[in-house]
Amino acid sequence: MSAASILASYADAVADVEDGATVLVGGFGMAGMPVELIDALIEQGAKDLVIVSNNAGNGDTGLAALLAAKRVRKVVCSFPRQSDSWVFDGLYRAGQIELEVVPQGNLAERMRAAGAGIGAFFCPTGVGTPLTEGKETRVIDGRTYALEYPIKGDVALIKAHRADTMGNLVYRKTARNFGPVMATAARTVIAQVSEVVPLGGLDPEVVVTPSIYVDRVVCPTAQES
């Protein structure tokens, strides 16, 4: 890939998301949630999506709205059930959506593995629980591990704080969460940001997601490139 495209339109950024795509969606609750990109995806119309995200939507906006629009076939997440997850709850109880519950750290590590070219890894999390039932296990140095496989995305939708014009990203506080990991794990990475700074405007020591991982940066006030 070459340096990221800078776009001003969320719609343009998600125009080519295909039906059936696996979409990694950043955020932990609302912190780091790419709400405008999700709204654009709803508008765009892609369906039969597999969504990988920590939660399964809150209230009636963002992911919840995508679910409500019946665009999602399956959710892979660690924590679907929340006080305000009524959209997901309703679909799930009606048998209209699939759910794969993954421990939060495995969700992160499986995406990291996808990005890092690791074929599978032996992980101690969840051993002896229903969430590793049927998985291959192995005792290594006296501890039991279950074999976990990578989770790869076709697309990642993430929210960062600032980008430079090459696509290097920095995040803000705990809104960083899944963004940097998802950026490594998807074929096409789309980041919405609050600001695009000129080349040289980010200190190379503090870049969190290097430009190599980023395909498109979206910022309504940015000059397109």
Binding site: G29, A31, S78, Y92, G105, A108, P124, T144, K173, T174
Partner: protein, 229 residues
């Protein structure tokens, strides 16, 4: 549960409320420890940590050394704890991404985590994520990662459920969160050492700080042997 003590064992006046329990846990956290406090009641422990204890709080959504809950102008929706509640940043804080945060947990770098529980077995199995009810929507979050990750896993809970059934059990009947991972259980009626008990041939749990219950009554209401420690 407020039966006056009839045993010779030391007992406080009555069961500990959640604040007394949080204070008891806070007293046991070593100075300078790196600690994760689970969502819900365990977060109360933070309010009871001694000023100057140097305890550093970890939140699995990617931060070390956060401070009290944010109020007013300090609320920043980009700065929340694992319960998605806005918190503050202390000097010496650090942010990192989710894979790094859970590597920290899974790699055994946290000294203590404090979790709630539905059930804990005498050998330290933990059930705290799923009641097993057929219509419940399963949601695990970071519970399984914390259960197997921290050096010391402490549970904070009432000893008996609302229907009176014991929550320290011979074998968990709820779906498990982790195997043989709990070291200590802090309850309203006493503190149980499981780590020590795992070495006991009789399978007993060791109780201390009995509060509002006698050893005899406790022994009668639990299905696991209890000894005073």
């Amino acid at each position: 549960m407020s039966t006056p003590s009839t045993s010779s064992a030391p007992a406080e006046a009555g069961p500990r409320d959640k604040h007394a329990l949080a204070a008891a846990i806070a007293r046991d956290v070593p100075d300078g420890a790196y600690v994760n406090l689970g969502i819900g009641q365990p977060t109360l422990v933070a309010e009871h940590l001694r000023e100057g204890s140097g305890v550093v709080l970890h939140t699995e959504n990617g931060m070390l050394n956060f401070g009290p809950v944010a109020t007013g102008d300090d609320v920043d929706l980009d700065l929340t704890n694992a319960g998605k509640i806005p918190v503050t940043e202390l000097p010496g804080a650090a942010y990192f991404h989710h894979a790094d945060s859970f590597a920290m947990m899974r790699g055994g770098h946290l000294d203590v985590c404090v979790l709630g529980a539905f059930q804990v077995s005498a050998n330290g199995d933990l059930a705290n994520w799923h009641t097993g009810a057929p219509d419940a929507i399963p949601a695990v979050g970071g519970a399984m990662d914390l259960a197997i990750g921290a050096e010391q896993v402490w549970v904070m809970m009432t000893l008996f459920a609302k229907d009176g059934t014991a929550k320290i059990v011979p074998t968990c009947t709820y779906p498990l969160t982790g195997l043989a991972c709990v070291d200590r259980v802090y309850t309203d009626l006493g503190t149980f050492e499981l780590a020590a008990s795992r070495g006991r041939a009789d399978g007993a749990v060791v109780v201390r700080d009995l509060s509002g219950i006698s050893l005899e009554e406790l022994g009668g209401r639990l299905d696991v042997p209890v000894v005073l420690g």
